[in-house]
């Protein structure tokens, strides 16, 4: 690796510029740290320039007689260690995550808080843009409207990027908000959604809860993994990602299919799951509105998507303004839609839930709470009959299949209560 030899304010002397008087080593010569390799002169006196390290003088930048400012590079020494700047982090991994995912870890670590203008926040919330993935170009790195709009324009390109497939080998896309709390809360979305469905809810959780949203395989920005046709398989993929994130204990919030995955994950023992908050989880009964699932998966136009989305809420009027557009924007990819349609066929054959999560629910030893809208048209609330008595059930009137959007304050509160009822860290 080439190390620069620079002019510094050596010896505390005030200098503004120096003249190179002599080189004591030539290109190719071996030098040792501390050897005098050049002599420079200021208005006052001559100074020696020493090699900063062992190595070979690789390059002379300033010739004898050149005048340099303080901090300028005189020459370069090759210290023999080879280049450090090549090879990205994901070197041997067959799954090549999209650039957004690679960049995201830096932001997660750097910021407890996203700095964005009020307008940028408003647009991001309306359009479902995750501010932690947006680069700010305003003063001091503030995210401004133009940055959010740029992210919106670039998002489809990201989704269209080639995402290789492979069982268990792909890291899922995750998004962490790290503020307080030793055991994070993992959020698992439902079929045909992605982790952005939690955005409005996360805002209400308060600073003491650390959260990690996961895009299930073939959803959002996660790779389209093969053989994901059961909650257990999906749970394995999630577990592998979480373990790779360094997590061993967590709470889980799961919605619909994500609820079934949550139960499967808790049951598998791969991680210590301390509590479960399940929003209308799949797997408690056979019925599911398969037509809606297929319709959602396959919709290519805002009009058809909007119609299917209406079925998810208590009434079509409960669909938030701009929601359909936001969802459409994130589903602009043929490959994603094909994958999800196929997945629906595997998980919900003939419009029926092909798996039973009741035993897993009954086996779960920690606090578990179900939140279910009484007007849920996708998974009817009657599926909660006959549940084990230790399972808390919150029936919410005038809410459909999306309580995290229809009643975010209530859901946030109940999540908080569930997490706290699991007690402190052990």
């Amino acid at each position: 690796m080439a190390r620069d030899v620079t002019i510094t304010g050596a010896g505390g002397e005030y200098m503004d510029s120096v003249t190179v008087v002599e080189w004591c080593a030539g290109v190719g010569d071996t030098v040792r740290a501390g050897d005098t390799i050049a002599v420079v002169e200021t208005a006052k006196a001559a100074s020696d320039v020493e090699a900063p390290c062992d190595g070979t003088l690789a390059e002379i930048v300033a010739d004898v007689g050149d005048e340099l400012e303080i901090g300028a590079v005189l020459g370069r020494i090759d210290d023999g260690t080879g280049d450090a700047e090549e090879a990205p982090a994901a070197s041997a991994a067959p799954a090549d995550p999209p650039p957004e995912a690679a960049a995201a870890p830096d932001r997660r670590v750097r910021e407890g808080r996203v700095v964005a203008s009020p307008l940028a926040r408003r647009i991001a919330a309306q359009e479902g843009v995750d501010l932690t993935t947006v680069e700010g170009t305003g003063p001091r790195g503030r995210i401004k409207r133009r940055d959010v709009e740029r992210a919106l324009r670039e998002a489809p390109a990201v989704a269209r990027q080639a995402v290789p497939e492979g069982r268990g080998a792909g890291r899922l896309f995750v998004q962490t908000r790290q503020e307080g709390g030793p055991d994070p809360v993992v959020f698992l979305h439902g079929f045909a959604a992605d982790l952005a469905v939690w955005n409005g809810l996360l805002a209400k959780l308060g600073p003491s809860v650390s959260t990690i949203g996961v895009d299930l395989p073939g959803h959002g920005r996660s790779p389209r993994l093969k053989a994901m046709g059961s909650p257990a398989a999906l749970a394995d993929a999630v577990a592998e990602t979480l373990l790779a994130e360094g997590m061993s204990r967590c709470h889980i919030v799961g919605h619909s299919l994500g609820g079934a995955v949550a139960l499967a994950l808790a049951d598998s023992g791969a991680l210590a799951v301390r509590s479960l908050t399940l929003l209308a989880p799949a797997g408690l009964g056979p019925e599911i509105d398969g037509a809606v699932l297929q319709g959602l998966a396959r919709a290519t136009r805002i009009e058809s998507l909007g119609a299917w989305l209406g079925a998810l809420f208590a009434t079509p009027a409960s669909v938030p303004e701009g929601y359909a557009q936001a969802v459409m924007r994130r589903r602009g990819d043929d490959a994603l839609r094909d994958y999800q349609a196929a997945l629906a066929g595997e998980l919900f054959p003939d419009g029926t839930q092909g798996f039973d999560m009741r035993p897993a629910l009954e086996r779960f030893a920690g606090p578990v709470r179900l939140i279910w809208g009484e007007s849920d048209r996708i998974l009817p609330i009657r599926q909660t009959r006959g549940l084990a008595p230790h399972v808390a059930l919150h029936r919410v009137a005038q809410v459909g299949h999306m309580p995290q959007i229809e009643r975010p304050d209530l859901v946030a509160r109940l999540i908080g209560e569930t997490v706290r009822s699991a007690g402190g860290p052990r």
Binding site: S117, L119, A120, R122, G138, R145
Partner: protein, 324 residues
């Protein structure tokens, strides 16, 4: 339409109102025989006599208090306070008398009086004759505060002020008196409490008062050459604020710069900034920028005075910061 100087427009307003209503009378220092140090009241004593145009002793405190109670008891006095720098002498009469009576006495009295004064720097008048103490009077509930930036508004707003049943503080600017502008013919009465958009723009809203409106317009020209289109809003009334105009503009441009010739700290711009935050926070893509006189006494020598006062350059810089 006629092209008038700002001072002439004020003179016309006073003359017309005094002709229209015999209860209107004027008092102030040097306003009668001399016609006022800025000639706003020229020839009025000749027309209306010494009872209705009164030269007064140097007694701002008593005169302001007298104007208040004269207004309470059947006449409509217009008091001239020669320099805004003398407003502190009037504050007891404004804060403890004029502004409270309509409320404290449960509507038993109305106070149709106008206090006219002029302020502002740039004329080398020194630290005691160059200030803009808009914030002092705008702070007091129960007063209306108006600052015309053009001859048309000078006439229209002064007529409106004289007809208003509430106390109005009318803020003129010494460097605007000679400004020429079109003034509508006929009975031209403006509306107190309405701002005016003088230049439309999509990138940044500049809310300015008095002479700073013209500096803001100059800034807009310079910014336009850089591709930044500024919307210049002349507030015209400092209190009560035209809230809907302010909010609409910020919602449109997402950036706001407030310009007032008073000092910046605790100044009028600080209130505008807070108002914009209260009512248009989510439309803001950047913090509100304030441009005002630097927080120090206003010096005399030209380079010193010009460095302290706000101008088109500082307004343009603020706009650039906002959209950066």
């Amino acid at each position: 339409m006629a092209k008038l100087r700002y001072a002439e427009a004020l003179n016309q307003a006073l003359r017309e109102e005094m002709e229209r209503d015999p209860a209107v009378w004027l008092l102030g220092e040097d306003i009668g025989v001399y016609g006022g140090v800025f000639k706003v009241t020229r020839d009025l004593m000749e027309t209306f006599g010494e009872e209705r145009v009164r030269d007064t002793p140097i007694s701002e405190q008593a005169l302001t208090a007298m104007t208040v109670t004269a207004a309470m008891t059947g006449t409509r006095p217009v008091l001239e306070i020669m320099y805004a720098d003398f407003l502190p002498l009037t504050i007891d009469a404004l804060a403890n008398q004029a502004s409270i009576y309509n409320y404290i006495w449960a509507g038993q009295v109305e106070l149709p009086f106008v206090l006219r004064t002029q302020g502002g720097g740039g004329a080398g008048a020194g630290a005691q004759h160059s200030k803009s103490l808009d914030a002092f009077v705008a702070h007091i509930p129960g007063l209306k505060v108006v600052a015309p930036a053009s001859p048309a508004d000078a006439k229209g707003l002064l007529k409106a002020a004289i007809r208003d049943p509430h106390p109005v503080i009318f803020l003129e600017h010494k460097l605007l008196y000679n400004m020429r502008g079109e003034v509508p013919d006929g009975e031209h009465v403006a509306e107190i409490g309405r701002a005016a958009i003088l230049r439309e723009g999509r990138d940044v809203s500049v809310f300015a008062t008095s002479r700073m409106v013209h500096e803001a317009l100059k800034a807009a020209e310079a910014l336009s050459a850089e591709g930044i289109e500024a919307e210049i809003v002349d507030l015209r009334t400092l209190r009560p604020l035209d809230l809907s105009a302010i909010v609409a503009s910020v919602e449109k441009t997402n950036h706001a710069v407030v310009v007032n010739e008073g000092w910046t700290f605790c100044g009028y711009g600080a209130e505008l900034s807070a108002t914009i935050m209260d009512h248009a926070f989510d439309a803001l893509d950047a913090p509100v920028e304030r441009v005002g006189t630097l927080d120090m006494p206003i010096p005399y020598s030209e380079p010193l005075e010009m460095a302290v006062l706000p101008d088109a350059g500082r307004i343009a810089d603020a706009c650039r910061r906002a959209v950066a």
